[in-house]
Subunit: 155 residues, 2 copies
DNA sequence: CTAAAAAGTTAGCTTGCACTAACATTTTAA
DNA sequence: TTAAAATGTTAGTGCAAGCTAACTTTTTAG
């Protein structure tokens, strides 16, 4: 299922609220996304029509099985991109979050997987560079990585 | 100046046509972008209002100085992303083009620069891996790169 | 040179997604 | 327990960007 970036943001937010707050409310979504409540209301009705959430007027918002799976998928795309931006390119967290948010919609499952493998290959290597002089003949192909505190849980 | 992804695609297309065809026409833009001529017409009027192109009814389409600079900037973002996807992640060209197209809007100047530096660091290393066994203790930090024919001119 | 083809434009429709104003329902606190 | 506050919904607006149908202008071929 292919959603608009806007709807993906709603779904992602619902998932995050579900796992961090007692309840998932229109107002909370609106605050987090800095969007008006009526806009949230309409988006929720769209997500309901798509059978991604259960939603009755004035009642609690609940993800369906499909909605839950799709949320995880969206968050996976988002956090993989964010991880790449912050840990590999060493971009500032806030900027990385914004860019990952806007980029996530464009990235396919396959690309996410490849990016993830790539990041793992790079970050699992341990700390810093490999000990050889980056400019020496011996190991000129080694890539020096300076990321620390990697592989923290991302949301 | 921050344009929508749609307007960026128009501007990028105008730039490319300018440099590959004798003239830049509504029909050519429409064909390339697979969008109707009236839609192109309206987009062109928007770009004209933004002083990115010169455009009079039934006349030729010309980029202004600002429009030309912005086009280059857009293409830079696009092609840097595409290069990363194709050469580093080894993603299929067509898919990479589509994803880069949709992602380019989200990426800042600063991130483009960092990504570019990163790609250069990786790709400038020469061919293939460094000769050590990737799994050996000796050089476990080396990243094997298999890209060939890199740094081709991208458009 | 003119009629047909190609190119370009205008008008009006649709959808997505934001907004405010106004109203309805639920929750909370005196 | 009930009035105020908080929350949620409905109605209607605006804008971006796609579309088709119908029209105008320019180009081209006989």
């Amino acid at each position: 299922m292919k959603l608009s970036n806007s709807l993906e943001e709603y779904l992602k937010t619902i998932y995050i609220l579900k796992n961090t707050e007692k309840q998932v409310r229109v107002t909370d979504i609106a605050k987090r996304l800095k969007i008006s409540k009526p806009s949230v209301n309409r988006a929720l009705n769209t997500l309901k029509d798509l059978k991604l959430i259960e939603y009755e007027a004035y009642k609690n918002i609940v993800l369906t099985k499909t909605g839950d799976e799709l949320s995880k998928d969206i968050i996976k795309r988002y956090s993989t991109l964010k991880l790449f931006l912050t840990e590999v390119l060493e971009i500032d967290k806030d900027i990385a979050e914004n860019e990952a948010k806007a980029m996530k919609h464009a990235i396919s499952e396959d690309t996410v997987k490849k990016l993830e493998n790539y990041i793992n290959k790079i970050l699992d290597l341990g700390d810093l560079d490999c000990g050889y002089d980056e400019n020496s003949e011996k190991c000129k192909n080694c890539v020096k990585i300076t990321a620390k505190n990697r592989l923290k849980k991302q949301v």
